[in-house]
Symmetry: C2
Subunit: 419 residues, 2 copies
């Protein structure tokens, strides 16, 4: 053994000895916690963390900086990323973290009014635009608490069946994405007897060929509690400020009995891929008799595909493409589609479909924003030609305790940077 | 090109043509659903599916076969594995599936009595044994509804602060694991002034050296609402039927302020590894001032290790070994320890620690039984010498709606067979 090799051996032995006597300070679980990872999927580049922010103008008009109740509750959450851990545990774990605070608050809300189911925010010039479902009137009364028919005849004296009844679609703009100004109504329910004479709601937006398209759920009177049929209609305009021209008829209707979407199609969300327009939607069947392909089934997501924004939209024979979920919460990523599922056998998952049809597990998630939408970096380009980046922020809604009225929030999204 | 090669080429082309024209029937998501996978982690051999079963004798004494309410609700679940999907969606997603039915039921329960926090079931000869927390009396009243001090002085006239108050540990046996017979009380609270004068509860069992050991949480009067300190004590016997000899003092106590377990140590669960006795426990700190290693912290799991079942148990310096969780739900697997976490930043996960200390993600889960325990195939052998197999069944509890009283259920567990 040469002297050099002997020295090397001794050095190596010393290094090993040093390492073995260097005691581990924290368990791996606590190290993750200490590092503020707050999750254990940091090696998965698709694991999303949602950081909820207050916005003004979309249901909440107070100044959170001067509201001591909100301040005291939000401070710990806002100032300390690790505090999300406490917040989550303090309330219903399925609630949004910031919503947990806001929904308990008393002041600052537009009373007896609901703002919910907002579109993907888009940016035109230096201005952000979003459209949303707005409903107001006397406090909502569930079907079980009286006769709904008595309320719906005279619209001026309505009482809402629930907080999303007699809904119209409104338009708001913002320069910073946090402070929003309502610009007034964009789409109203049609005259009695029309295909949308009760509600127009849960909209999404598409920008294509210099035109603006809103796709949205429509319901007619009588509006039976959680019953259907609910359809999807479309309106277009040359400017985000309108005026909006409605389609002569709905662009998507429920399927025949025996299908998962035999009662309702709603919550549309648009993706452009391979020159086609993919309209994703939530489908719901007859509650007493839910089947799909002869299998018992509950809620799922379908997709209908068209060559043009105006349709016709043809439902994929592979529907449902997602089994479970609730509101359609999707965004384009690369040349595929990612969806966040918060109900059903695959709950708390992000699923991804390269072809837009066959969704596979992408990552386990610990949070899914209610009716979440995402700012489209490239608006609505064809993702086959212009692969999409991961989204950075979006909008969703929360519900106030007691009244059930909803308000709109923002969230910034972070994904792990995997080395 | 030889004739043989040409024929082969044509054959290959025909095969490709045939395949390309064979249309896909279902989306991948629906195929998973149709195959009754009910989850999308079928390639993960550790993904557990819990199939809840009714048991009799542990809070529920009715005959489910003659209870039309239970029958109508359970039938669809029991007869059709896919129906679990419907069941899950029908109720609170964080509830156990079968519990969802039972907890709504009216008849068949032992009134004003709680059975909860059961030990791992063990088998001796042809008989299964389990011990559990039992509490009864007038309906429980939360602290906020009156003065608890007034109720606790005269035990004969007690009113429970909540449904786990004035708890003792009871013993039951079964020949089949489904029909249980109560064998009477095993451990009672001690006389006034002793370290366990109010409650003995959340037990786990260990069999070692021909002796039986029960480890359990102890509380003294006054029993302030969710306050502490709560400690862990031990009792031993030569037979599962007792008599039980209590330890002179608790075997594990809360840490100093500033630690995650400064207020309560409870929910013990024992694993034998490398000749040592690993006592896993749930730790809870001061609600107003929760810290660990200078970091804000909520609930976590710790472990304390001893050379003998009697202790002394020394807390690991790596505690907490799991950040989050609620009741300690663990089982030995191979030569390591698996834990199921249902709260905190790593909620809905199974974590696994080869060394019993450093837990890593093993699989995303969609269900965690409340205070679940597992039948130990090999009782309590040293897992370093006798690696453990995956558990096949266990016991947990559910809570009745309205009263909050609990009852004990069984679940069979299936894991994917990964090819």
């Amino acid at each position: 053994m040469s002297m050099n090799f002997r020295i090397l051996s001794i050095a190596l032995a010393l290094i090993c000895l040093t390492q073995s006597t260097h005691a581990q300070t924290y368990s791996e679980a606590f190290q993750r916690y200490k590092d503020s990872d707050l999750h254990f999927e940091k090696d998965n580049p698709l694991f999303p963390t949602f950081n909820y922010k207050l916005v003004t103008g979309l249901g909440y008009d107070g100044d959170p900086k001067t509201d001591p109740l909100i301040q005291s509750k939000v401070k710990i959450y806002r100032d300390n990323p690790r505090a999300r851990y406490l917040v989550r545990l303090a309330g219903n774990q399925q609630e949004l973290q910031a919503a947990y605070h806001l929904r308990h608050a008393i002041d600052g809300f537009v009373e007896n009014t609901t703002f919910r189911d907002v579109t993907s925010p888009i940016k035109i010039g230096d201005t952000y635009h979003a459209w949303y479902s707005k409903s107001w009137g006397e406090p909502a009364v569930g079907q079980e608490r009286g006769s709904q028919e008595a309320w719906q005849e005279i619209k001026g004296q309505w009482k809402r069946i629930y907080s999303w009844d007699f809904v119209s679609i409104w338009h708001a703009t913002s320069k910073d994405g946090y402070h929003w100004q309502e610009q007034g109504v964009a789409i109203e329910p049609g005259p009695k007897g029309s295909y949308d004479d009760r509600c127009v709601f849960t909209p999404d937006v598409l920008v294509s060929g210099g035109k603006y398209y809103l796709y949205y759920q429509v319901a007619t009177s009588p509006h039976v509690y959680r019953d259907g049929p609910h359809k999807i209609a479309m309106a277009w305009a040359d400017s985000p400020d309108g005026p909006w021209t409605k389609s002569d008829a709905p662009v998507l209707v429920p399927s025949e009995p025996g299908h998962f979407d035999s009662r309702k199609v709603h919550d549309p969300c648009l993706i452009v891929k391979g020159g086609k327009y993919y309209l994703y939607y939530k489908g719901d069947g007859d509650h007493s008799n839910r089947y799909q392909f002869g299998e018992r089934f509950h809620i799922g997501w379908g997709v209908a595909i068209a060559d043009r924004p105006e349709g016709p939209f043809v439902k994929s024979k592979l529907n449902p493409v997602v089994c479970g979920g609730h509101e359609v919460v999707i965004f384009p990523y690369k040349s595929g589609v990612a969806g966040l599922v918060r109900q059903g056998p695959e709950l708390f998952s992000m699923q991804y479909a390269e072809d837009g049809l066959n969704f596979k597990l992408a990552t386990h998630v610990t949070d899914v924003p209610f009716a979440g939408t995402f700012f489209r970096q490239g608006h609505f380009k064809d993702i086959d030609k212009h692969p999409a980046e991961l989204p950075r922020w979006g909008l969703c809604h929360g519900s106030r305790l007691g009244s059930g009225e909803a308000f709109i929030m923002r969230y910034d999204i972070t994904f792990p940077v995997v080395k």
